[in-house]
Amino acid sequence: MKKASIIMIIGSLLLLGLFKFPLWNIMLGAPQYPDPLGMNIYIDGIKGVSEFDLQNIDGLNHYIGMKTIPKADEMWEFSMFPKVIFGMAMLGVIIGLLGYFEKVSYKYFLGWFLFMSVLGILGMYDFNNWLVDYGGNLDPHAIIKVTNADGTPMSYKPPLIGFKKLLNFDVTSLPHTGGYLMFIGMSLTLVAFWLGRKTSLNKKT
């Protein structure tokens, strides 16, 4: 159980990587952008991959009527996410410590994982909602209006994950370092649960 608890603590602490590394990354390449433009999505705001990328993405997007990329203070998520992540990391550490001193059972590890998963899914749902609005809520006076075959305006929503062709741009959306650290951390808490369960079953027999 001691080993499982330590893994639980390490797994939870990996969440803190999100304060240093981006959660997600979206890259936009095009014939005239051999060095693609890119945005890194952190839990507390969006930054350009290179210094002027956000400004240049906004500059291009004004042609098709997209809103500018939100600043940190324009979305409540960017003040809420850091609190949630920090809270969950601390909660995980506390559960791990309590497990270490045999105060709580390994089942709490799974509990933490499930709770974190629910929060994660809610987060992804919210992120996707923003992408839908960002890509589809267009200025009616846009300079260039592209419509689908059925006459409805085309959406420029970047993919939640994976690759998509949007006009001349190749858009790739993938988790970044912070995101991967979070996934590894969450997996570790599952491992902790499994190890804890194994040792507890061994004790019983």
């Binding site: 060095d35 002027f52 400004q55 240049n56 500059g59 042609y63 300079i143 260039i144």
Partner: protein
């Protein structure tokens, strides 16, 4: 079965025949197979990069062109001494001061010898220096922005030809006068040239961090013609060598009268000794008048300052600082090998190439073995200093470069060829024709302690039939050779712009990595910059009207302007708000008497417009910046001189 075996053997023999045939071709000269082999050597596939940068002087174009090797493709023309309407250089308010001189504004120059800055005898890729021959000036170009940053006029000089070569650590960029003149200039009979004219050799210090140039001292030499020069390096660091001709001091019909002496001189200058003398207060400050023009990357503006004095040094007052080495027949190029031991005097009217030894020179000086003196300057014995002679290598030797592997390459103007010979044994090992009448040649790093050999290119003076004809006037031709093998191999023939006298080249790495993409708007300190749409405005100041204009894909702000009157002087201050690589905007207004502006991202440039007629006149973006480039336009209303139309401006709404 037997048949099969026989035919197989026959097949094998035939294949063997083909192979040996191919082998035979490789040492041959002009087979089809070889030609395609050569094509591969200069082929840079689409999207790939050349391995070397080459900076070619434009000669009478006054500018510098940037090429890639081995492809021979031209990437850019950098305006230096000549107005350049393409970008507005020399036309915009910001850059007009760059072309200011003691003779006033000069729109043109004759650019000769580019040289890349060095650290510890190796090319460091920070700056490119180049001389202007006609109205003596030295320019410094940034190899980060590829723009001219500084131009200093050289007083007491005329025909600034033995320039602009840098010392081993870019302590100095050196400029020598081709024509001797009265110093100071005065009204006197031309026939009194001899003994009265002087030749100034200028040592211009280069500030290690900024590159800023300042004339540290001028050595006032006898009235010869100082043709070319090169720095000592390695063991001879601290010395500078200049070829001379017209030691006869003729002032008319020089083609005859300056070719009488069997030998002219190479002047050896111990600049470290003179520097020390000057640092201890030696020399005299002499009244002068020369322009020092500096371009500031942050204000995007040049300023011109007239300097009023220069320090001159009489060489005979610094014992041991200057010597003459006799060198046959009007030497042109003066080239120093990478080790610093050999000084090649390319006597252009001599059949032989003379090579002097630095060690022997020091020895002769130490033992005071002098053959005489000229104007108080000791003359060494030709034989005492001679390292060797390359016998009859060709006709009309001009310039020599080195590959760092013990070989030298000399151009021969009259016999139109490059000859490869060995340092030390002086034997000729190869020769290849050039098309036609080669002047300078360049090996990347060829004027440094560390040549980056593999390529050598010859810059020719005569083109004739090399390309599709373009009437009587043609661009000059150049040839690129592979010099990595024992024999030189002609790879490519390519046209060059203007008349390239010399070129400086180096491996692409350092420069490619430092090349700037944009100017940061946040660093723009131009006094008339509008850094956002909120800063745009139109301000009248008497007859002057300042328009703070911005550009961003795809509009000007403002794009409707009223209240201008006939007789006004309208300053369009155009700031490009873009911060994206390779998104310039242009500016042109009907009836502009100067040139367009091409404004790089983050930059501000100013064009003056003096409307002479009442009307509503358009202006537009000249650079196809975006899909809506054609929409990037505006109108400016010009009213009668006595009208009372108020100054107003707008974007996206009407002026009421």
């Amino acid at each position: 079965m037997k048949n099969l075996l026989t035919s197989s053997i026959a097949m094998f023999v035939i294949l063997l025949g083909f192979t040996s045939c191919n082998n035979g071709n490789k040492s041959g000269s002009k087979s089809g197979a070889l030609a395609s082999n050569i094509a591969e050597k200069v082929y840079v596939a689409p999207g790939e990069y050349d391995s070397h940068y080459a900076f070619l002087s434009g000669g009478y174009s006054g500018n510098v062109t940037v090429y890639g090797l081995p492809s021979g493709r031209m990437f850019k023309e950098i305006p230096v001494f000549s107005q350049f309407p393409t970008s507005g250089y020399g036309y915009s308010e910001e850059t007009k001061p760059m072309l200011n001189t003691s003779h006033g504004f000069i729109p043109w120059g004759d650019a000769h010898h580019p040289d890349i800055s060095q650290s510890k005898g190796e090319l460091d890729g920070r700056w490119l220096f180049i001389n202007e021959n006609n109205t003596p000036r030295i320019a410094r170009l940034s190899l980060t922005t590829f723009e001219t940053e500084e131009i200093i006029e050289v007083p007491n000089s005329a025909g600034n030809h033995s320039s602009s070569f840098v010392t081993e650590n870019t302590e100095y960029v050196v400029a020598g006068t081709r024509f001797s003149v009265p110093i100071p200039q005065r009204d006197m009979p031309i026939k009194d040239y001899k003994g009265n004219f002087q030749g100034a050799l200028s040592f211009i210090s280069v500030a290690p961090e900024t590159g800023n140039m300042d004339i540290k001292f001028q050595v006032l030499m006898p009235g010869f013609n100082y043709d070319l020069s090169h720095p000592g390096r390695g063991k001879s660091h601290g010395w500078f060598f200049f070829t001379t001709y017209n030691t006869e001091e003729a002032n008319t019909l020089l083609e005859v009268n300056a070719s009488q002496n069997d030998k002219d001189f190479i002047a050896a200058i111990n600049w470290k000794k003179i520097e020390e003398y000057v640092n201890n207060g030696g020399g005299t400050m002499m009244p002068a008048n020369y322009a020092h023009n500096v371009y500031d990357e942050h204000t995007h503006t040049a300023t011109s300052t007239m300097k009023k004095e220069v320090r001159v040094v009489n060489p005979i007052e610094v014992p041991g600082a200057v010597y003459f080495i006799p060198t046959p027949k009007s030497p042109h190029g003066c080239d120093v090998d990478p080790s610093g031991e050999y000084i090649v005097g390319n006597g252009k009217l001599s059949a032989n190439l003379t090579v002097h030894s630095f060690t022997k020179m020091l020895d002769a000086i130490e033992n005071k073995k002098f053959a005489g003196e000229a104007y108080g300057i000791p003359i060494l014995n030709f034989e005492d200093v001679l390292a060797g002679v390359v016998e009859q290598p060709g006709l009309g030797p001009l310039h020599t470069e080195f590959d760092g592997k013990g070989n030298a390459y000399t151009t021969f103007f009259i016999s139109s060829e490059v000859v490869k010979w060995k340092l030390g044994t002086w034997e000729v090992v190869d020769r290849k024709p050039t098309y036609y009448s080669v002047g300078h040649l360049t090996i990347p790093g060829g004027n440094s302690g560390k040549p980056q050999g593999k390529y050598m290119f010859a810059m020719n003076k005569i083109t004739k039939d090399r390309y599709l004809p373009t009437g009587p006037e043609m661009e000059h031709s150049a040839q690129l050779y592979d010099i990595s093998g024992d024999k030189m191999e002609l790879l490519l023939d390519f046209p060059t712009h203007g008349e390239p006298h010399y070129a400086a080249a180096m491996e692409a790495g350092i420069i490619k990595a430092q090349s700037q993409k944009i100017y940061k708007l946040a660093d723009n300190k131009h006094p008339y910059a509008a850094k956002s749409d909120a800063d745009t405005k139109v301000v009248r100041d008497g007859k002057n009207v300042h328009i703070y204009l911005t550009t961003i894909r795809s509009h000007f702000s403002p794009d409707n302007i009223e209240g201008i009157k006939v007789g006004d002087k309208v300053y369009f201050h155009v700031t490009n708000l873009e911060q994206d690589f390779d998104v310039p905007h242009g500016f042109a207004v009907i009836g502009q008497n100067n040139s367009e502006l091409l404004v790089m991202p983050g930059q501000t440039k100013t064009s003056v417009w003096e409307p002479k007629q009442v009307g509503v006149w358009p202006f537009y973006c000249t650079d196809f910046c975006s899909a809506l480039h054609q929409e990037m336009q505006g109108y400016i209303r010009v009213s009668a001189a006595n009208s009372d139309t108020p100054i107003k401006w707008s974007l996206g709404e009407d002026i009421e």
